[in-house]
């Protein structure tokens, strides 16, 4: 019973043929409109809500990057923090030393993230399934160690590059066409815009011939290879694109928080990302976005209650046992059965299934 077989078996069952059906697209447009209107509303009531939602947008973008490579190409990555952090540090250094113009900084973050992903992907692509994941973890931790010990500074002979465990602080906000984007609202719209743009791009990609090949690779790699495609190259390209998006998320994150620290590169960041993706429902693109929103929201609200970690952990456990397809699965179930009685019946049957599986 190899891991790859199990992974394969579970992915090939019931995926839609076209990414983002018409109904979902409509839903996303509606959500987008709400998001646009939310900002002025928040400005009047409680401006700092915009900050929270901006963080949600950025993590949604990060989760989207993982879902693209994971849900569509089937490449599980435990090391996405490496691209996130690389993009973030690149943005920080650029803003500090060169320019704060968003038109330069953000593309730079994308390129750095893509390069890191290309490197890691190219080195790791020969491994499959869980081994690929472990390789990404190993490389990501290497990046973390490099940043924490400020090895670039050691190599270049300067006093500090990544500034070790303190990180880079006091990073000013981005400027767009000369305008400072430092206010809560402008960051909100900037992140929203970029998220929307990336979602569109990824959808296009996933529906394109390139995307189809990726999905085929996820289903059955060997067959695709037999047909004649260079599977490794597709994988590396997919991983690179994903890395670029993760780097972009990092490049947005740093000016919003005005810091770039080693925690961006730590394996727990990769872990949290996977949680977001799984909670939201992998492979659906919009699911992980919802998952990111949920996790950021939970971590925020629960923190005012004593020991929030206990409750957060319980939420994850309950969701994974009873709602395995995550938020997207929940949503689809509710959609398909709007009758509350039927829903209640579904809940009861879920509990019964649980009882059967455990106590048999």
């Amino acid at each position: 019973m190899s891991v790859k077989d199990v992974l394969g078996r579970h992915f090939s069952a019931h995926r839609q043929t076209d990414v983002l059906s018409g109904r979902v697209r409509l839903g996303l447009v509606v959500a987008g409109v709400i998001a646009v209107l939310f900002a002025p509303f928040a400005q009047m009531v409680h401006p700092f809500w915009m900050d929270l939602v901006t963080h949600m947008f950025i993590f949604a973008l990060f989760a989207l990057s993982l879902d693209f490579v994971f849900g569509y190409a089937g490449l599980l990555s435990f090391g996405h923090a490496a691209m996130f952090g690389a993009g973030g540090y690149a943005a920080a250094l650029l803003i500090q030393e060169v320019t704060a113009s968003a038109l330069l900084v953000l593309p730079a973050a994308v390129i750095v993230g893509a390069l890191v992903a290309a490197l890691i992907g190219w080195l790791s692509v020969s491994a499959r399934g869980i081994y690929f994941a472990m390789l990404t973890l190993a490389f990501a931790q290497l990046f973390y160690t490099i940043a924490f010990n400020d090895i670039p500074a050691m190599l270049l002979g300067v006093e500090s590059v990544t500034n070790g465990d303190n990180g880079l602080v006091g990073i000013t906000s981005l400027t767009l066409f000369g305008m400072d984007t430092g206010s809560l609202m402008s960051y909100y719209y900037l992140s929203l815009g970029i998220l929307a743009g990336m979602l569109t791009l990824v959808t296009r990609l996933a529906n394109s011939p390139f995307g189809r090949v990726l999905q085929a690779i996820r289903e059955n790699e060997d067959r695709v290879a037999f047909i004649g495609y260079n599977v490794d190259r597709y994988k590396v390209v997919a991983f690179t694109i994903s890395g670029g998006m993760a780097g972009l998320a990092g490049g947005l994150w740093v000016p919003v928080n005005s810091t770039a620290t080693t925690s961006m590169l730590h394996w727990t960041t990769s872990g949290e990302l996977i949680v977001m993706t799984l909670l939201g429902g992998m492979g659906t693109l919009w699911g992980p976005i919802a998952g990111a929103f949920l996790v950021v929201f939970l971590e925020d609200t629960l923190s005012s209650i004593g020991n929030w970690e206990i409750y957060l952990g319980i939420v994850y456990i309950v969701i994974v046992i009873f709602a395995p397809r995550g938020l997207s699965g929940l949503f689809q179930t509710v959609r398909a059965n709007p009758n509350p009685k039927v829903l209640l019946g579904k809940v009861r049957s879920a509990l019964a299934t649980y009882r059967k599986k455990v106590f048999v």
Binding site: L52, N166, G167, S258, S263
Partner: protein
């Protein structure tokens, strides 16, 4: 491998599961936040708002809670929750020892909560992230209750920063002449290899060599190392008569316990910055720590009336003896009190003038905010660990009076 960025290291931490926390939507804080948004809050002339930017989860939660306890002992228990007729309100957010979170929380406290005072953080990395916000905002006084990185003052110091804790020079360099005079003229340095450890050993080294001592070797261990055996081997190989170290938290416990279990304490005297052998680590270090020396600005067993009163009050309120963090919190309370009472006006700048250069009646001993830097001028205790009926404790063997430290070019 641990989560980084701590002046009080290890962690985890973890660490590990930290996220920024915001007020939006939180049930318990909703009332406060709406009040803040609708123009109430700290800028209000009827209340004083204190914001806690501290870790409340993970390995440092105990330190964060200790600081809060200290502040509240002064402001709530002893002052009845009021300063100059105005009620004291609190808001708190968990930094989780993450600089990005700390920066966000600070932003929110300044812009949305309109706090008058910010108390915190525990970690110097978080402090560095907080500083630009506080400096540019100028709407609150920052009572730095634990972050000792001297660079906070060296790089573009801000008048809004008041350290009710210590700086890394004070907890390392002054020990040098004591070591040279009383213990040995040659040392080997061991430290946790991150900012706090590096600063401590560098500052000690500078001072030690200027008094004529020799530093035989330097051995740095990665932050979060749980087994120091190989490093201890190198320390032993150095052949020095004494060791100066910086470790804190669980690193300090592991280091000291292993130092003794390998028998190094028989041939070498261990000395260090106070966090190596402080009230919160001694319980776990036990008799391994006996006979070791450290330097710190607060010792709960110090026999002065002022300290006894503080220890008694704290023990009665919280059912445990205070530690250095609690004292720092308490002094932050004293500072807030003084800033409000002595200020000419209610704006932040007049409160800053009221506080700069002033003395506080601190349990630690003499305390004054140095006018040029707003760092503390205070007594430092050199302690030795001794065995008592209540377990191992620090006993003060010498007190260095009014230790200042350099200004690092800052002149406020």
């Amino acid at each position: 491998m641990r989560m980084p960025s701590e002046s009080m290291p290890s962690e985890k931490r973890s660490k590990r599961y930290n996220r920024r926390k915001f007020l939006a939507g939180s049930a318990t804080l909703a009332g406060v936040s709406v009040a803040g948004c609708l123009g109430g809050g700290g800028g209000d002339s009827d209340s004083i708002k204190v914001g806690f930017v501290l870790p409340f989860s993970g390995t440092y939660s105990f330190l964060g809670e200790s600081i809060v306890n200290g502040v509240k002992l002064r402001l709530d228990q002893q002052l009845g929750g009021e300063i100059d007729g105005k009620t004291v309100e609190y808001v708190r957010q968990d930094t989780g020892a993450d600089p990005a979170t700390g920066a966000s929380i600070t932003q929110e406290f300044l812009q949305s909560e309109n706090v008058d005072f910010i108390v915190g953080p525990v970690s110097s990395a978080v402090a560095s992230a907080m500083k630009p916000e506080i400096a540019s905002s100028g709407s609150a006084i920052w009572l730095n209750a634990n972050a000792g990185n001297y660079k906070l003052v060296e790089d573009s110091c801000t008048q809004y920063h008041f350290r009710t804790s210590f700086n890394t020079w004070q907890t390392s360099a002054p020990l040098a002449s004591y070591v040279n005079d009383n213990i040995a003229d040659n040392v080997v340095l061991s430290y946790a290899n991150y900012t706090f450890g590096q600063q401590s050993k560098n500052l000690f080294r500078e001072e030690f060599e200027s008094t004529g001592g020799t530093v035989v070797d330097e051995i740095g261990a990665p932050l979060g190392t749980s087994d120091y055996s190989s490093f201890l081997q190198e320390i032993e190989n150095s052949g020095a008569d004494a060791v100066f170290s910086f470790f804190a938290g669980s690193d300090a416990v592991n280091y000291i316990n292993q130092f003794s279990s390998f028998g190094l304490n028989e041939s070498m005297t261990q000395t260090g910055s106070g966090f190596l052998l402080s009230a919160d680590t001694l319980a776990a270090q036990g008799t391994s720590a006996t006979g070791m020396y450290s330097l710190l600005h607060y010792t709960p067993t110090k026999q002065t009336d002022r300290n006894q009163a503080f220890v008694d009050a704290y023990s009665e309120q919280y059912d445990m003896t205070p530690n250095v963090y609690a004292c720092q919190g308490y002094d932050s309370g004293l500072a807030a009190e003084m800033a409000i009472n002595e200020a000419d006006g209610t704006d932040t700048d007049s409160r800053v003038s009221a506080l700069a250069g002033q003395e506080l009646d601190s349990p630690r001993g003499y305390f004054r905010f140095k006018s040029e830097t707003h760092d503390p001028v205070m007594d430092m205790d050199i302690r030795e660990v001794v065995e008592t009926d209540d377990g191992v404790q620090n006993e003060v063997v010498e007190t260095l009076s009014r230790v200042e430290g350099p200004t690092w070019g800052c002149s406020l």
